[in-house]
Structure formats: C-alpha cells, structure tokens
Amino acid sequence: MNTIVYNILFYILAVMVMGSAGYVAISKNIVRCAFALVFTFVGVAGLFVLLSADFIAATQLLIYVGGTLVLILFAVMLSSRISDIRISNLSVGVIPGFLITGCFTAILVYIALFGQWNTTDTIEFNPTTASIGNSLLTKWLLPFEVVSILILASLIGAVVIARQNEGKK
C-alpha cells in the first residue's frame, strides 16, 4: 500500500475513533451516544483494514454495526422515553472518574510508547480469509466448537431472562 495514503488514512481514522469515543464517554444524550458509537465501530474497522485484517474488519462491520448496535438502539428506545433521555443519562462522580482514568491512561500511554516491544521488520499485507478458515477448522477446532455451544447457551439464557415474569402477570 502507498505509504502516504496509508498515513493519511491512519490519522483520519485515529481522529474519528478517538473523537467519537470521547463523545460516547461524555455526552449527556444516550441516543447520541449510541449513534456516535457507530462512528467508533466503523473507524475501528478501518484501523483493522490498515492492520491487514480484512476478514476481521468485515466481521466487525457485520456483527457490531449490523447486530450489536441495532440491539443497543432497540434497548435505548424501549427503556427510556425520548423526552426523559436527558434526565435518564445523568453522570455520577465525574471528577474522580476523570482523575482515575487520566492517571490510568497516562500509565498505559507511557508503557505503549516506551516499552521494548518485539517487532519485526518484514510487514506483509496478505489476504487472510482462507488461512483463518483453515486454522479455525484445524488448530482452533475445539475453541470453535466450545464457542458455538456458548452461543446456544447464552441465547437461550437471554430469552429466559428477558421474559422472566411474562407468565405471572
């Protein structure tokens, strides 16, 4: 990939991801938070493409933007009336929260910048879908099957929890 295009794309996506994530963290309106999360997820998918993870980027778009976020929007619309949104999304303990996360982020950024990371010089951009399919059905077969059982269990659990008291009323 062309280096200049790569750099420009990286910085655009970085600003998009961090700006919308900050908006999610501090906005008072829960509906706007949920829509800002769309931009965060799309930007993160773009970063995945820059990290040569094309299949994961497509999965991110399909599952997060197409599935999880629609679910969250449904929950927002169902649980709070539109007129109460500003009331229902109050914050608590903002100043201690900022202090704690500020210190924590400083430590994390320090570690990221000055840690002795073990990096390689030969960075390649290859299509990954075929190799992911191969390794999912050979090396990672057992975790793959366990995850499918986990999906079944948690979907049944979600249905059971969500309609807990339907029969009694």
Partner: protein, 107 residues
C-alpha cells in the same frame, strides 16, 4: 511519521480510557454497556496490532486474527445477555434502569 505499533497501542489505550470513564460515570445501564463495547474494541485493536507488527510467521499472524474473532463473538453474546438483564430490570424495578437505584442485593 509512519504509524507503527506504538500509534495503534496509544489509540487502543485512549479508547480503553473512554470506555472505563463511560462505565464508572454513567447512571444509565445501557450507557454502561456502551462503555463495555468500547473496552472490548480496544482489546481487539491491541490483539490485531500485535499480530500485524510482531508476528514472525504468517501462521502466528493468523492466531491473532482468530483471537480477535472469538473476542468479537463473545462481545456480541455479552451484549445480548446484558440487554436481556437490562430489560428484566426495567420491568421489575418500576420502569427505571438507573444504576444508583439497583441496590437490592445490598439489603
């Protein structure tokens, strides 16, 4: 300056901080869930950036991708179960999902 491993790690750290801030300051339960999604996304960025910049062989690069894939699946499941719990709380706690009011287990 070419984006390297450090750039991606810093982006993931800031995303993680936004998620933590969202989790500890929100009173709306759905807002807390948005923060958890941000945290899981930052973990995915870390997994894929280490897989891209530090793997010696193509096979070990694919291992990072498979980890990120499992992480995405678990995040979707967590979201489904957590939203079911939020809906049950909304129904049973007098039409509110304020985290400050959910103190039944303390008593």
């Amino acid at each position: 300056m070419n984006p390297g491993l450090q750039h991606f790690l810093v982006i993931a750290a800031i995303l993680f901080a936004c998620g933590i801030l969202c989790v500890i300051t929100r009173r709306n339960a759905v807002g807390v869930l948005l923060g958890v999604e941000l945290i899981l996304n930052s973990a995915n960025i870390n997994l894929l950036s280490f897989s891209h910049f530090s793997s010696r062989t193509p096979v070990s690069q694919i291992d990072g991708h498979v980890f990120a894939l499992f992480c995405i699946v678990l995040a979707a499941l967590e979201c489904a179960v957590a939203l079911a719990i939020v809906m049950a709380i909304y129904r049973n706690f007098n039409k509110t999902i304020d985290m400050e009011d959910l103190t039944t287990l303390k008593e």
